[in-house]
Structures are given as C-alpha cells and as structure tokens.
Symmetry: D2
Subunit: 376 residues, 4 copies
C-alpha cells in the first residue's frame, strides 16, 4: 500500500514530542516523512532534515511557503498530512491554513486557546473534508479501548459514578520557585491561555471520561488553586461533574501533586460493575463486580474486544507503552485518510478539541465566579 506522505511543523532537534510523533508515524509503516518546518530557524530545520536523510527541498521557512511549495508539486508527490507540534498559541493559525488548503492535520492538544477558534476549525474541517486527528494519546491505549468497549457492551450497567484524576509532580519545584516560574511558557497566560493545569492535563482526564463512557459532561463546578498569589494560572484543581440525571462525579488535576508521575486514573462505576485504569500501569484493566473476584484484564488476549486486540502489535505478555498508544492514533488517522472504515474512537477528532476547550473555559469560569455550576 502506498505510504501517506507526512510533513511536520515543529518538533525540531532536541524536541521530545517531535521524536514521539516520528516514532508513532513509523511504527505501523503507514507514513513516510517528507519534510516540513521543524524549528524556528530554517538552518536548524535543515540540520534535522539532514540527520533524517530528507530531501532539503521539502524543508520550508514558514507555513505560507510550505503551502505554496507543496501545492506546486504534482498531487502524487505532495505532502498529504501534516503534524502540528508547535506551542499551543500557534496551533490555530497553522491549522486553519492547512485545512483550507486540504491538508489532513494531526495536531497536538489543546487544539487552540479559545473555543471560538476551535469551533471555527471544526467548521473548516467539515467544509474541506479533511481528516483532523487530535493527539489525546491516552485514548490509544489498548486497555482504554477495552474499557470503552466493556461499557458499550453493558458490562457495568447504567453509569452512576465517574472518577478521574491526573496528578503530576514534575513541575512542583518550578512552581515553588518564583524566578524559574517566569521563564516557563506554561505558567504564562500570554502563551498558554486562561489555564495551566486544566488545559495541560485536566483536559486529558476530561477527554478520557467522555471517550470511555460515551456520555457528555453537561456541567461543571470547579475550585482551582494557583498556590501563590503572584501566580496567575491554576496549578491544581478539583471539578465536580454532572453527566446526566443522577450521574455525578469529579475530575481532579494537579501539578503540585509532589512526587507523582503522569498519574492519570479513571474509575467508572455502573449499576452492575466498575472499571478502573491507570496510565502508569497501562496494561492492566480492573473489572470490579459485587461479590465476585476482581478481574484483571490485559492486552492482546482473545477475551478482549477486536478493537483492543487490533491496538496491540505483539503477542500478549510483552508490555507496550506510550509510543504504541500514540501510534494507534496515527494508525487510525491513516485509515481515515485512506478512506478506510474506521472504528468509532480510533482517533480523537476536531470535535474532541472543541469539547476540550469548552471544558477548560467552563472550569475557569466556575472557579472565578465563586464555584458555581457552568454548563459545558
């Protein structure tokens, strides 16, 4: 099968996330990296291009010359899909231009800094009939997909409680050091928008809830914490959630959870059973029933769903991790780009982006206006 010609905007030398995108793209042999704009200077972009043995004619100085250059090529050579891995506040403009010129887009989250921009992109995606994949990576884990399928198959009954947390400790030392806080983009409202923690990690937990339950969060009431009075953005918060009549729960996100790794957890309780998953041990899915032994499900086994099995690449018992989850999104997007039938939930779309931004805006509003309920 012809590989999809991929461009990348961002993710230059020394960038973790750039490398992660390239690994995810190569893993299933669906994409071939052609070029893009890797760094803020053309010279540095060329350097990475050389390391990767790319044709330097396909390296551009800015988004406009990228579009112009690629459109000038015959369709069979032209880059088809473009990964956006630049800082958040630059997503909107780049994505807009790419979509309007019929490039498929694979975009880091959050999709934009405001829901107005996100909604605009959503409409453009529809109008231009391109594929837009938002990298909420955690939805790519096989056991997250299994969790989703078990709920779909009514294995837990009617949902009655939702519990999600995303705790992280790595920024804690910086938060406590006023000087170093100044130099970091995530603590700067000009670059990161109205929220730090909720936009960075809280929205992943939000996305996961809607992904696995199939429910929509209808309204939120939040209490955010900036920890220091001179710190403008939230570094911690708890959000009460309502997802329908008598379906309640919460989402907690914190970057002052000292010593925690990327501790994203989700627990969904239904009338018949409960399910629990956590990102730091992603190959374990816990199925809890009344008066029955706890069941621990693992990836790749026949007893899991087809969707989950197809999200693994090797025999059971060989742990897969973050890159493989990431690659599952690229794999889903490749199917969509090629016009193949995809499973519901194979990759997050622009609509997930819109939901995410609306969640962030609602959470910030609720906390600012005195912990009131705000609809999402």
């Amino acid at each position: 099968m012809e590989k999809i010609r991929l461009g990348i905007i961002g993710g230059g030398i020394g960038s973790y996330i750039g490398k992660a995108h390239r690994i995810a793209a190569c893993m299933d042999e669906n994409y071939t990296l052609i070029g893009g704009i890797f760094s803020s200077t053309y010279q540095k972009s060329l350097e990475l291009a050389n390391n990767l043995n790319l044709d330097t004619k396909r390296i551009y100085e800015d988004i406009d010359s990228f579009i112009k250059g690629e459109l000038a090529l015959p369709e069979k050579e032209r880059i088809e899909a473009v990964t956006i891995a630049v800082p958040n506040h630059l997503h909107y403009e780049i994505a807009k231009k790419l979509i309007e010129n019929k490039f498929h887009v694979i975009c880091e989250k959050p999709v934009t800094n405001t829901s107005i921009e996100a909604v605009e992109l959503e409409e453009l995606v529809k109008k231009n009939k391109v594929i837009f994949c938002l990298t909420h990576t955690y939805t790519g884990y096989p056991m997250v997909r299994q969790l989703k399928k078990l709920i779909e198959k009514d294995m837990i009954g009617k949902i009655q409680r939702v519990h999600a947390q995303y705790y992280e400790g790595c920024w804690n030392p910086f938060i406590h050091d006023k000087e170093s806080r100044k130099g970091i983009w995530r603590f700067d409202p000009k670059k990161t928008g109205i929220s730090c923690t909720m936009a960075d990690i809280g929205v992943h937990a939000f996305n996961l809830i809607e992904y696995v339950t199939g429910l929509k969060v209808t309204s939120v009431l939040s209490d955010l914490n900036t920890l220091y009075d001179d710190n403008p953005l939230d570094v911690d918060g708890t959000v009460l959630l309502r997802l329908g009549k008598n379906i309640k729960g919460f989402l907690a996100a914190s970057q002052i959870a000292t010593g925690e790794e990327n501790n994203l957890q989700i627990k969904i309780y239904g009338s018949k059973a409960g399910l629990r998953w956590e990102q730091i041990n992603p190959t374990y899915l816990y199925y809890l029933q009344d008066n029955k032994p706890l069941q621990v499900l693992k990836p790749g086994y026949e007893y899991t769903s087809k969707f989950s099995v197809s999200s693994t690449r090797i025999a059971p018992g060989h742990p897969e991790g973050f890159f493989e989850a990431f690659a599952n999104l690229y794999k889903g997007a490749a199917k969509a780009i090629r016009g193949q039938k995809i499973e519901e939930g194979e990759f997050p779309t622009i609509h997930d982006g819109v939901r995410g931004i609306r969640f962030i805006e609602a959470v910030v509003k609720s906390s600012k206006e005195g912990n009131i309920w705000v609809s999402v």
Copy 2:
C-alpha cells in the same frame, strides 16, 4: 497491672461489631469483660453471657438498671469503662447517662445524630473528667500513625493538596432494589439522621484528613447523589475542601462504587513530598519525592516513629490488620483511663465526634442549598 473492668452495651450474639470490640479489648490484656447489656432482650444478653462465662448478675435489662446496679457495687468491683455498640440514634442518651455517672466511654461512631448533642456530650466529658474514646478505627493503623508523624516532622513541607476517598460497593445491590432499601436502617432518615454515606464512611475520610494533617477543614462545598428520586439520603458524593489559604482538596465517598471493598485512601501532597495510604493494603505507606525513588514504608521497623512501632505487636513482616488497629484505640484508652501519659492521637476523643457531626451537617447543607460553601 490491674485490668480495667469493661462493660458493653450492644454487640450481642451474631453481631460482628460486638465481636470486634471484644477482640480489640482482649488483645493487649488491659481489659476484662464483666458484663453489660448485649441485646435488646434480657434473655439474649444472658445467652451471650453464658457463652462467655460471665457472671450473669452483671447483665442488665436497660441502661438505668445497669447504672444503678454497678453504682451499688464497691468501687473496686465496679465496671469502669463501657463500650457503646448500639445503633446510632441510641448513642446520645446512653452516653449521656454513663458520662454523668462517671463511667469512661468507648463509643462507636458517629457519636450522635446532631452536633448539638455531640457538643453537649463534649461538655459533659470535660465536666465529669471521664475518658471518651470514639472508634475511628483507621487512626489505629501503624502506617496512618507513621503518616501523621512524617507530616509533623516536616517530611513533606507545607501541605498544598489533600485527597481522600472512601469507596464501598457492598450496599450497591440493596440501593438498586427499592424494596430491600426500605428495610435497612442506614437508608432510613429516622434512624440514621440526615445522611447515609457521608455519615457512615465519608466522616471516616474527614477524620483521617484532620488526624494526619493536623489541619482543620475550614469549609466545604458538596454535591451529593441519592441516585434514585425516592431515596431520601445520599449514597454518594464529592466534597470540595478548604483547609487554609491555598490549601485545597476534596473528599469523595460513595456506596455506589460497585465492586469496591472498604477502599479508604488518603493522599497528602506538600511542597517537598507526598504521602499515600490505603486501607485495603494497610501495611504499605508510600513516600513520594520529586526526582527520587518512591519509598515504601512498612510497620514495625526502626526507621518508623516510636508511635508507629508501639502500634504493632510482632516482628516486621507479619501483617496486622483491622482488629489490631482497633485494639490500638483500646490500648490508648486504657492508658488514659489509668492516668498514664498518652501520645497525641492515640485514640479519637469526643472532640473528634463533634468535628465529625459538624462535617456531616455542613456537607448536607451545602448540597441542599445549591452547592455553596459552608464553614465547618
């Protein structure tokens, strides 16, 4: 050393909690069970008395005859301390009479159904100079005590986030069955007061937070869930907490967390480190630091505090559990009754009872009045 003469009100044949109290009382050889009122009928009380080889003269029909009978005995023979293990709504009257007659009291939680009653008991305890031990059993676990001591010793720095949950699945089948719900006292406001889940298990999480942090919860904002419209009391809820300037967190309690055991967890994050403990694996205490290996502390080792070591009875590596934690409260109360010096936190007092009832009242008010902040 002379053993303390113990009476028990409640906990008759077939009662789990009665057996638990007797085990806790016997474990450290500080108490000798003399008599009491075990069941609602005298005949059944006598039956248990016979099983236990007790002198049936020390078995009474009601609290008044208990008091009269015991006061008639010489002080050296008289029951000194009385365990109250009857349903919640009967605590107040029995406790009041015992305290006024100078009996020490060991009482099941919640101490009373209203804070007015609890405060009255608190004043009586002070006036009559008796010992009052409230059985918040979880404070008796060695690793909970170690957690408390690590915070006291500034091992985590300034507290910045508090996270507590108490999830239970065993009542879930009954909650979904309208008929069986009717017959159970915990779902009946006449017997259990204004709250089901928060009063039953949420208050344990609340007590644990205040116990280990040494902080007071200043205000709460809650969202409770009755699940069914015809169910009068909460079976689930999340409570936002404030414990001082920029110290926030939450407490979640649920009896619709299907498949969960007594899953009480507490996580406290400070500026320097975090601590995590969970009741279903009570011999593990997790100490989390930035960029350092996770440390797992266990009971009985020299590296733990004196208070924690003295709360174990055997060499490290021999798991102890719920009864041993329970016995630690009895042990602390025995020291207090004998006028010995006790460690801060060796057993919960009537004041913990007052705090607990105030918490329950505040949580219910917050949820009823539209999820507003209520001070505790």
Copy 3:
C-alpha cells in the same frame, strides 16, 4: 460454652511469641489462660502471672511440678491444653511428659530436633488420644485455605508444577558479623539441630506445599549454602522436589535474601489453571487461567469456600493478618479438644511435625552427600 483451660510453657515477659499465643488463644473466646511456666526463673513467671491477673498457685517451677500440681486438682479445674513455646531443643521432653499425662498440646514448630523423637511423639499422641496442634501458622490464613479448597475442587486440574519460596532478610546483618553470629541460638548446632534456615523457614514452605496440594513430597535434592566456611549451618538453599510422576518443582529458602520481609510465596500450576499466594499480602489469592482474565480472590466473600469464610471474623474488606491466622489454629484445636467435627486441615497435627523433620533431615543429607536425591 465452657472455655478450655489453657497453660503455657514458655513465652514469658518480653517474648513476642508468648504474646502471639495469648492473642491467638483469646481471639475466639474458646480458651481461658490459667497458668504454666512462663520463664526460666520462677520469679519471672510470677511477674507475668501478676500482670495477667492469674492465680499464682497455678504457676510452676518446672514441668514435673506442673504435671504433679495439675493432676492433683479436680478434673473440672485442671488445665486441659498446654502451649509449648520454649526453645526447639526442649520441645521433645516437655511434649512427651504432657502427652503421657493426657494433656492436649499446642506446640511451636519444629516439633523436635530429630525425626526419631517426632515419630515417638506421634505414637504417644495416638496412644494417649490427645490433640496435638503444631503451629504452622501460615495454614491458618483464609486465602491459603481457599487455595487448598480450589485444588480439592479440581479448579486447576492435575498439578504439574510446584514453586515455593521463603525469603527473609532480617538475619542477614548478623550472618555477616562473625562475632554476633556466635551468640545467636539459631546459628548454633547444639541448640537448633542440623539445620538453620531449612528448619526455621524452609519447613514452613514445605508444610504449605503438602497442605495445599494434598500431595506428598516423595524425594528431594538440595544445595545448601553456609555462606561462610566457619558457619556450620545452612543460611540459604534451594531444594528440587518430586511429588509424583512428572510432578516436579522446587522450594527455595534463604536468610541472606537481603531486604526481604517474611516473603513466603507459593505457586501451584495445574493442567487447567494456576494459583499464587504470598504471605506479605495475605488477603490476595491469584487464580490464573489460560486466555482468561486474572482473578483476584479476597477473604470473607460468598464466592470463597465455607472453610475459608469461617476462617475470617469480620465483613470483607477489613484486612486480617498474622494473629488472626494464628487464632484459626487455636480455634481448630479447640473444636478438636471439645470433640467437635473439624474440617480437614483446620490445624497441623503431630504428623505434620514428623513430615517436617523428615524433610529437614532429607534436605541436609542431600546437600552433604553431594546433591543427590533423598526420599522423604
């Protein structure tokens, strides 16, 4: 029901094991401690007797006066059962005298230092029709009993592999210090017999294998390690096991497993499924099947066997530990002493003692004679 009158030989002030026996004896209200010989000096025995409010007339200077004194009492007052908690090399003589005088015996393991002595005791037990309970405490854990029952019910099919380990680190510092090694009885062949580690902890693993599988170890081949040339007894070893045609496995025991707690583990694999249990997390039993989710069983639930449920004392979700396991042996012995019907495996008997000593002798012989197979 009349309580069983209990005496204790050994376990004086400051003794962990003495306290453990008293806790185990009191927990189910079947025994009442009457007297015994607690310490090597009469004066110290009296001291503990006073602490425990015992009648000092029932405290004796030596085993002969104990027997004489008790036999002189009317049968209804006489001590019925006697716990032996003195050093190993004293077990034989005391047990022999007690059995010959019709006292029931509850004895610490190893029952004796040689199999000749053990066999003699076994015959005396039969002849005198007394109950003899050997405290292989680990067989008292509810999930060990559940493991046994699952095998009995053919839940794993035909047994095909047996794996047991008992690793301990607490003696490691002493083993490396020649001077301190000298003063410790367990490293002294005169007191502890022909083996240190195998007799101390290896035999527990051996007992557990035979207990849960219902199979007999037919022969062993071992390789023991003394670590230092001037250390006479084993501190570490691995034992190959044969339990029947094509049923093989091993048992590893080590007191130089630095940093390990009492890490006793057992894994039994059958043609259909496997089972795993470990003492440091005794409330978890793992049931492994091909291509099915792992199941985690916990104590007290209806889905476990009657025998397992009856070995717990409180509702599921309240962890029980070592003392409760110990008390289950006392409970079983009480039923036997009272002539009630007991479950197979409710407590280890003198026959388990004989098997254990034979195992130790076979293991030592195999290693000494050049790692050859020795039948048990």
Copy 4:
C-alpha cells in the same frame, strides 16, 4: 547522519517477530530497510516488499543470491547489516555466509542449535571484524540496565544469592494436546534441537543473570520435566546454579506455568542489599535494604544511571515497553556498526550466544545423566 542500510532474512507477512524487528529498527532513525528474503517463497517476499514500498530488485530468492546480488552493488548502496529472523535450525548457515561476506548481523536467539556451531561463528565474527548482535531483548530494558549499573557501583555489596524464573502459560494447552503438539516446531527435536523450554525461555533468564551480575555461571545441576512420556523435549525445569565460591542460586523455567504471561523475574541479593525486576512490569526496579524503606526506581529519572537514561526516549512517567527495549539493542548495534564508542552491555554479542548454547547443553546433560553437576 547516513542511515545504516538494513536487510532482513525472514519475518514475512503475518510474522510478529518480523514486525518487531522493523519497529525496533525504525525507532531511532538509524536504519533504513532496503530488502532481503522475507518468506520461503519469492512471491510472498515481493508482496511484503510492495507493502513496504521497497525496491523489489533488492528482494532475493535465497541467501546465496542475496550475497551475490548485494556484493555486486557499489559499497555505498550495499546492504550493511542483516537481521536473521528465520527458524532456529537455519541460523547457523545463514549467519556463517553473511559473516564471511562481511555483513554485520543482528540475529534472533538461540544463535545456533549447538555450541560447536556457535563457537565457529564467534571465531568468524572476530576474524571478519563484523558486528554481531544477538537479540536477548530483555537486556534492552532501562531498568535491567539500571540493575546492572547498581551492582557495578557496589550498591548491593558482594552477591550471595541469585534467583531467576521465566514462566509462561501460553503453550500449556498445546502441550496437553498430543495431536497439536506434533505440528509445532518448538516441540520437535529436529527443528529446535535438544531442548524446548530451556532453549526458548530458560536461556533468557540465564543471559539476564550473567548480564546483570557480571558473574559467570560456573556449573549447573538440573531437573527437567517433559510432562508426558511421549513428549521428547523439556517443557519445564529447575536448574541449580553455582557462580563462584558460596554464590548459589537457581533458575526456573516453565511452559506449563498455566496462566502466566511472559513472567521473567530476576532477584539478586548481595551482602548489603537486594534488587528485583520483572518483565511484566518492566518500568519498576525494586531496591531492598535491611531496615530501610523499600525503594522503587523508575526509568528516565536523573537518579538513574546515564546508561539507563539513554535507554529511554521520553520524559519519565510515560511507560515504554518491549519494542523500546528491542530498539535499544538496534541502537547499540548501530553505534557499533558506525564505529562509535559503546557502553558495555549495549547489545548482546556472539559471545552471549556461545554462553547460551553452552548453558542449554549443560542443563540437558545434567538432567539426562541423573541430576549431576555439569560445568558451563
């Protein structure tokens, strides 16, 4: 940097291991796949070549035409390194031809079926100065490398006990089914050589022991189990190990450990501390000390060694798994092929292959000759 031109022999359409090699090769952007012989038929090889957009001129019918064809090309275009992923009994001949023609080789384990062949290859590798990488994948895990480094840095003192197991359940149903056993190459001595389980998985555990300890296993005594009399090869076994004066231990491997995943575990105990790692949770490394809290180390943190950190690709807290470990071997081999300085242990060499085969031969001999010690 110029990418290394890679060929693959084996691993055609539908092959797990072929895909794993390609993922491992692409992950660090050091290799570019050029061609090879993917399947037993030329037509099927071409099919995969087309799927992967490879130049079909670089697809060959057999090893001789591969060598001839590639040698005919200018050196700058010629395939430099070749992955061997065909069944075991074909390794020797293919590897020999490749080495003699100066191709670097990346070879699946076991390197050959006899130690005579392995030694011959070792000599050829030396003579022809090519790089030979044997894919003992587990040595690529960051925490295995950390374990190795901690031992090197004397963090556990002198090694005194070694414990390794590799338990697997996936073949269990086939082993019990005589008919299906016949059709599987691993149970057929003609294809798999003198051993099934020890050659397949036992040797991984053996390799891991020598890798992390830096010690050599000097002699073995084994007891293997074929389970059925009509089954010619071992499916289970335990091996006693000696690694020097008073350094003992064992290795257990089983393919009748029903329900187990790829449960490879290693525990190394030294005079000062112990270390424990298991493959099914590969991001956890346990460091056990006497009387100190257990430490849990995780990948990517500054507190781990440079070697370990350089074996991860993303920030801490993002789980990596089997493919990433595999890719670490490819990364090490790439450095060696390019003549860069490599860390000791960056990839297993032909010498590890020789050791492995010698281990297998010794183990089989020991068991066959009556469980005697055989030197390795």
